[in-house]
Symmetry: C2
Subunit: 110 residues, 2 copies
């Protein structure tokens, strides 16, 4: 862990718990990789964390400098197309929480 990573200066976090459907794994994987490329170029995006288990349940958290940057990512045209496909094909369900970080701390044993 690098405590100088910009994500540790984030003011906001977007939490995205989601359940993948069994459908279109290749299309999903391609788009997910493209979204990773795009989001880190989005102004105000400070990083993200992501984990998915063997049952297809995943959580992605992205870290942001403010609400305007989060809205900018929501409205990115390529991301908007992915959101439509997500609702139509890739996700059985998801939740989305836009949150303000009030306290944080970090631990590294090494």
């Amino acid at each position: 862990m690098n405590k100088d990573h910009p994500k540790y200066r984030a003011q906001y976090a977007v939490i995205f718990p989601n359940q993948r459907s069994p459908d279109d794994p290749d299309g999903y994987a391609d788009t997910a990789a493209r979204m990773v490329e795009l989001v880190v170029q989005q102004p105000g995006c400070l990083g993200f964390d992501s984990a998915r288990d063997a049952q297809g349940f995943g959580i992605t958290v992205s870290y942001w400098d403010g609400l305007e940057s989060i809205a900018g990512w929501r409205d990115n045209p390529e991301h908007m197309a992915a959101q439509v496909k997500g609702r139509d094909v890739w996700y059985d369900h998801y939740d989305l929480y836009i949150t303000k970080i009030e306290h944080s701390h970090f631990f590294s044993r090494k």
Copy 2:
């Protein structure tokens, strides 16, 4: 997904991205199961989501009615003992974010 689940009334979310060490998988699994039992009994805990990938990187998000309830869980004696073991043995690194939910939405295809 059940939209009547109490977690959908949460005001706060605690985000816990973490990397498991390779050490003590049985002890970790026992304590993790016990923490799940305990946290859902903790006053003000409205639920949680959790995912861990094959590399041992996981994210847990717990949902709360307010900051006092979050502090109550932090100070639960059995949870405090688990936190010490986590830093000594189970986690290579973790981050902890206490966040206020500003906006949320939920999608279910089925």
